[in-house]
Amino acid sequence: MRPALRASLDARLADGDAPLAFGLGGHPFAVPGHQVAEVASVPTVVSVPSEDPTVLGVVLHRDQVVAVVDLGRRLGARAGGPGALPWLCLFVRTDLGTMAFPIDRVLTFGVASGAPLPDDVEILNLESA
């Protein structure tokens, strides 16, 4: 991962911005806690057509229409898509509004005493997704 981003996010960690680590396509990733809006199971997705094959559709979540994006495909971490519904989705606050990313599972949320994440965890900045 990019050292500058890692250093920046490790500094945020030290300030108490607990990350959320998750598994996707067999790889560990993490996002800074301040970007995370929610993790929720999504039972239905409306497959709104898009020229971008990673934009899977929309979900009605907490009275808002939220775009669902295949993060696994964007990252090259998972080729086959998220599989059968329901999907466990990571809702992230981005520059384009809240977006939902199907993930495999949550690994951890928060690291005790501001300790850095293990080196094999790739930290993502999804604010500009």
Binding site: V48, P49, E51, V55, V58, L60, A67, M99
Partner: protein, 144 residues
């Protein structure tokens, strides 16, 4: 109940609410709606056995929404909506026509910014109807 009866019942707008009437239809597993004011008529499946059966102006252009939206398969005989816009008239092939219903303007929101391709021209936005989501077609954008 026939489609015409369902349309007659569901097209009664709720009083005191700002709304537009839309024709609701299905393509694939997604529900769409197009402003009723743009719809000239609809043709049930089987009414059109050849392009010659279409009104002359509509036979000029036929848009298969399954193909447009990259949805595979579908029924062999499908209904058509004849729509008009700034760019002329066209027949939209859909899977099924559901009803005509008022959609409150406050129920409509823009397409999320993640949708950045041609779909921004095809769709006016997304409407929330009770617990479901309907995609609003922009006839002018689709026909352009």
């Amino acid at each position: 109940m026939t489609v015409a009866e369902r349309i007659a019942i569901s097209s009664r707008a709720a009083p005191g609410h700002s709304s537009e009437r839309y024709v609701l239809f299905v393509v694939g597993d997604v529900e769409y709606a197009v402003e009723a004011a743009t719809v000239r008529r609809f043709l049930p499946p089987g009414d059109v056995s050849s392009p010659a059966d279409l009104p002359a102006e509509a036979s000029l252009r036929r848009i298969d929404l399954r193909r447009c939206f990259r949805v595979a398969g579908g029924p062999a005989a499908r209904p058509m909506l004849l729509v008009t816009g700034r760019h002329g008239m066209a027949a939209l092939l859909v899977d099924a026509i559901l009803s005509v219903a008022p959609i409150a303007t406050q129920a409509v929101q823009e397409l999320p910014p993640a949708f950045g391709g041609a779909e921004r021209h095809w769709f006016q936005g997304i409407a929330r109807l009770a617990d479901r989501v309907v995609v609003l077609i922009d006839v002018d954008g689709l026909l352009s």
